[in-house]
């Protein structure tokens, strides 16, 4: 049954999209005319995907897919850091969040010199911030540092 996992996930996703598409509003016939209702095209795509998922299941059944290397601590640790990035950005400050995540990522990926990781985590967001703020005139979201900077 291992061969059904990925095609199964694709099929489940396709069915979910078809369900969501069927909940979409119908447009008046006068507007649609000879064309399609907005729900038809996504449904059509997902029907194609269901057929392709069946083909994929057949392929996996005839020839087992290569064993997947799921990645180690660095991979999943990085994803976990991205999850942490959200609350720090929303509740504290985006630039602080970037610095924290960069510092943690350096250490997670094997950097042993804490001062190097710290310097990189401080310097990079600072340089990028001033580049975007001064040269590209991008305003960053409000937070602890940006409130202080923008006033």
């Amino acid at each position: 049954m291992h061969f059904l996992v990925i095609p199964g996930i694709i099929a489940a996703f396709s069915v979910a999209v078809i369900y969501a598409a069927l909940q979409l509003e119908l447009s008046p016939a006068m507007i649609v005319g000879d064309s399609l209702q907005p729900r038809v095209f996504p449904v059509l795509l997902m029907v194609i995907n269901l057929i392709l998922a069946a083909c994929l299941a057949f392929q996996y059944w005839t020839k087992s897919p290569k064993k997947i290397h799921w990645g180690g601590l660095q991979t999943w640790g990085s994803i976990a850091l991205w999850v942490i990035f959200y609350p720090i950005t929303v509740y504290i400050d985006m630039l602080i969040a970037i610095a924290v995540i960069m510092f943690a990522m350096c250490l997670l990926w094997g950097e042993r010199r804490i001062y190097v990781a710290g310097a990189l985590a401080l310097a990079t967001p600072t340089v990028i911030f001033f580049l975007f703020d001064k040269a590209l005139r991008v305003r960053f979201p409000r937070g602890l540092l940006t409130n202080w900077y923008y006033g």
Partner: protein, 493 residues
């Protein structure tokens, strides 16, 4: 023609543009030698930095990154047996063995010269072929555009890395992503789940940053702490007269192969270099040398992958159909800067178009100089520890995703698509079809709907249009010729 040449030459009289091209060529070479970064990721990361530039400058920057990063992959391929970009994978076959024999400088010299010839050749073809194709494309109506978009997707699915079925699934997923937001004709909201920031659809830039840069970060994480063997080199040597005698036919052949494959809507440079290498071997009198340091192998792969860059710009600019991940980013760059890709670009913005071509030509000549005189320095950059490089990429990617519309939602989109891209790639699904599907999605749906309106709801009448039928036939052949041939050969055996 004279106007076109004047527009191309005008690049040289814009000091700011020349400066930008110079800086971007250096940056492109740095991006190319850094393992994992490559032209697509580099272009996606740099796109937000071009926001305040003039359209010509912005697209010239992206095109220069494409050209120079594609070349630069060969430096690390030859010196440390690690292709900086996937397009340089074939260069490792003979480049590294030649370097191991103490001839790294010669190998790099051949790679640099072949790449330059390939790049210049393809820009010349681009200048000639693009306006001709544009004249044909004026006649296209919705059925032709619909069929063409399907052809583009099918080619990408059948030729890209991974299997056809998996690539098609990725492409269909990309087209579905394009349906998120308000439906163009009726304005009915689709798959927005109450989030009005998605009303105009998913923004391309954060999705691309996620699919290319963030997913690559996760892929590279398994290489953290990896130690590479580097080869020392004294200086890059220009090919000798004997070398030229041995490689000139190979280089010319690969120029043709690379440009042709680049023009096809498919994953240009990587496929081109593999075919260029295979053809160099097939036609060589010294087949036994291949894999042990044959200079024809290096020349064949390098001329082909750089020739593909100019070729790939043809469908991107003329038809709005990107052939690869990098050209998809360039296409988004065109849109962001208000340039409408398509045949009308060649009448409405003709100077801009030729200035972009001129910039590509200049970039090709600049990397010749850099390759000859600074390869040794650039090779050192490739030894930057991954644990310092990728956190910087993370910072650039998050701020880049935010910068386009100052929206935090775009940052979350980039991170989510980073994870999606990582999982997809882990399971053998290429991410380029997702990106191209996202770009072509609206083109497919809108032109299908307009075709239905044209033919009063009879969809099959699309097949009565000769060009549309031809594109659909090519799409069908692209998808099914290989499985059908395999099936017949299995039956026969």
């Amino acid at each position: 023609m004279i106007d076109a040449l004047q527009a191309m030459a005008s690049v040289l009289f814009d000091p700011y543009l020349v400066f930008l091209i110079f800086i971007t060529t250096v940056l492109g070479v740095v991006i190319g030698v850094l393992p994992g970064l490559g032209a697509t990721t580099g272009a996606a990361l740099l796109l937000p930095f071009t926001l305040t530039m003039q359209p010509v400058h912005a697209i010239a920057v992206l095109a220069t990154i494409y050209v120079s990063a594609t070349f630069a992959g060969s430096i690390t391929a030859i010196l440390i047996n690690t292709p900086g970009t996937s397009a340089a994978a074939a260069t490792t076959f003979d480049g590294y063995p030649l370097a191991q024999r103490g001839e790294a400088g010669r190998a790099l010299g051949i790679a640099v010269v072949s790449s330059t010839i390939g790049g210049v050749f393809s820009v010349i073809v681009l200048c000639i072929a693009a306006p001709m194709l544009a004249r044909v494309a004026y006649e296209f109506r919705p059925p032709e555009y619909f069929a063409l978009a399907l052809f583009g997707l099918s080619m990408l699915a059948s030729i890209s890395a991974g299997g056809t079925v998996r690539n098609l699934i990725a492409g269909v997923f990309g087209v579905w992503l394009a349906t998120i937001g308000a439906e163009p004709t009726t304005g009915i909201e689709r798959f927005m789940f109450g989030n009005y920031e998605l009303y105009e659809g998913l923004a391309f830039v954060p999705v691309f940053i996620g699919l290319f840069a963030m997913s690559e970060l996760l892929i590279q994480s398994k290489r953290a702490n990896q130690v590479v063997d580097k080869i020392t080199m004294k200086a890059v040597k220009l090919p000798s007269r004997d070398d030229y005698k041995r490689i000139w036919k190979t280089v010319l052949r690969s120029c043709g192969i690379g440009t042709f494959i680049g023009i096809l809507p498919a994953e240009g440079a990587t496929v081109a270099s593999m075919i260029g290498y295979a053809e160099a071997r097939r036609w060589s009198k010294n087949k036994e040398e291949f894999g042990k340091g044959a200079i024809e192998g290096i020349a064949g792969a390098e001329a082909a992958n750089n020739a593909a860059t100019g070729g790939a710009m043809v469908p991107t600019m003329v038809l709005g159909i990107p052939g690869s991940g990098t050209t998809a980013v360039i296409l988004v760059g065109l849109m962001v800067h208000g340039l409408r890709p398509g045949p009308y670009l060649f009448t409405e913005q003709v100077d801009t178009v030729y200035q972009i071509f001129g910039a590509m030509l200049l970039a090709n000549l600049l990397f010749l100089a850099m390759g000859l005189y600074a390869s040794k320095l650039f090779a050192r950059i490739s030894l930057v520890p991954l644990q310092l490089l990728w956190p910087i990429v993370f910072a650039l990617a998050t701020i880049g995703a935010y910068a386009l519309s100052s929206s935090l939602l775009d940052v979350w989109i980039a991170l989510i698509f980073g994870v999606i891209g990582f999982l997809a790639r882990r399971h053998g699904f290429a991410v380029a079809p997702i990106a191209v599907g996202l770009i072509l999605g609206e083109m497919v749906e809108t032109n299908f709907q307009n075709s239905l309106k044209m033919f009063e709801g009879d969809w099959w009448r699309i097949l009565t249009q000769p060009l549309a039928a031809l594109f659909l036939l090519l799409a069908f052949l692209g998808l099914f010729s290989s499985p059908i041939a395999n099936w017949f050969s299995r039956r026969r055996s």
